[in-house]
Amino acid sequence: MATQHSRSAARLMMAPAVILLLGWMLVPLIMTLYFSFKKYLPLRGGDLGWVGFDNYARFVSSSSFWPSVQATLLIVGGVLLITLVLGVLLALLLDQPMWGQGVVRILFIAPFFIMPTVSALVWKNMFMDPVNGLFAHLWKAFGAQPVEWLSEASLPSIILIISWRWLPFATLILLTAIQSLDSEQLEAAEMDGASPLARFGHIILPHLSRAITVVLLIQTIFLLSVFAEIFVTTQGSFGTRTLTYLIYQRVLESQNVGLGSAGGVFAIILANIVAIFLMRIVGKNLDA
């Protein structure tokens, strides 16, 4: 894009996409802000007028607000931790030459193609069911009392279900990054006397830093709004009510659009706080 002419032509051609995306973002945002200042109960009188910051105050002072923020952060943090640690290890493993590499890699990505609702149902009914689940059978085989996963260990169970789905994504991105590592660098480090662990710490991990950042950011975006896994398993009970789920309950179960919209604005703020922290911590990895 060197000349004045080509630059203005480029702007013109980008305009439709930019305007469309901007509208796509702005319309819901403005509507959310609009409703958040209203008392709006669709089944109980409809639009009952402006109420100022009432909805915000009620949403925050509700006893379920802070637990929901905590649950959200625990789920995001837990899944990130599991997928990144296991992702790096699995990527290292899959990078080793082995028989049937191509097939194994494709099989490995498979969970990511399964819809969240389906994967959560499969986990709930086939693995975690305290009577018929595979885990229950396994526990019984060892003479132990089957665990009621979704009520006794609800948050870890949901983190497990979500991690299972996102692990392949992390592994895939990390694997491509590992494959781009120059093998001469590892050999040079080996000649320089670096042990396998030192090679991992000094060469491989720094090389992966950018890929890890990408995984971290993308997963955070999607995990903050995780919904289906909770909806089909615990329905938000047993301490698994995330902010997203709380908003859903306010809007659809309590039929209070104003209150839910105020919650939506809080969710935006929370997402931005997380984003700012993340960018501060890892954003510099994306430069250079």
Binding site: Q185, M191, D192, G193, A198, I203, S209
Partner: protein, 336 residues
Amino acid sequence: MGQIQLNQVTKSFGNVNVIPPLDLTIEDGEFCVFVGPSGCGKSTLLRLIAGLEDVTSGTISIDDNDATEIPPAKRGLAMVFQSYALYPHMSVKKNIAFPLRMAKMDQAEQERRIEAAAKALNLTDYLDRRPGQLSGGQRQRVAIGRAIVREPSAFLFDEPLSNLDAALRVGMRLEISELHERLKTTMIYVTHDQVEAMTMADKIVVLRAGVIEQVGSPLELYHRPQNTFVAGFIGSPKMNLIEGKEAAKHKAHTIGIRPEHITVSAKRVKGAWPGVVGVSEHLGSDTIFHVHDTGLADVITVRSDGEVSYRHGDRIYLVPRMDVLHKFDANGQRIA
């Protein structure tokens, strides 16, 4: 100290035998160059010495100690890679310090060695930069710096200049030779460029398909190539190899004459070979003529004085210097 001895070393990858049994001794302080065409096994040989590949059979000893089973880091050798293999996320200083850090050397000694290496390689001003901010030649020097600080018993160079442009290559060639003079450490250098081999080596090892064709000093190889392969590989432009009737006159299957040992004459001279000038390459100091229709070989290359000037298509006569004629038998081996 850095005497390296290879004893009946072989290497196979699966069924492919890359290096048949091979014996070689590299003396302490020697600058030894492995040269050969691509895929001749010279890099594999270097990696065997480095320990980055395991030998299939045979032994490698360094200073009379069997090093065959010793891991690369413990062999006391340092290697400079073709791609330099610098660590991109570390500064130049950290790159150079890496082997010392891995050896858990004390901080003061590290600083002293890094400073000395940086000074020797003109890197002092660049210590805080990342490899990505350096030019090719500077990166090369960082790679050498990382090797020097370990004070190894021998340096291994794997085609270190092939990623540099022609002018820089000549400069780095001199720097490495200078470094060798200063350090007097054994150096093993792999290249496919016979000019690098000729200019830098104390000893050249010419390899073809994993087999050593000849070992000797640059001038030995130039004056007495043991076979037609070495004859054709060493020297630029290549030696003219002539078969058939003309060779039979000298009781040989093949005769070889270097381009610089032929003079060109416009007039018929006794014993001269007639020919037609094809492309001529003017280098200023010399002119290289490619002469066709001699009835001896497809093309005869002649190097003559830069002043001599013939045009494309001119008929000329080539006068070979018979005293420097190389004779080879039907197997390509040197006769007498």
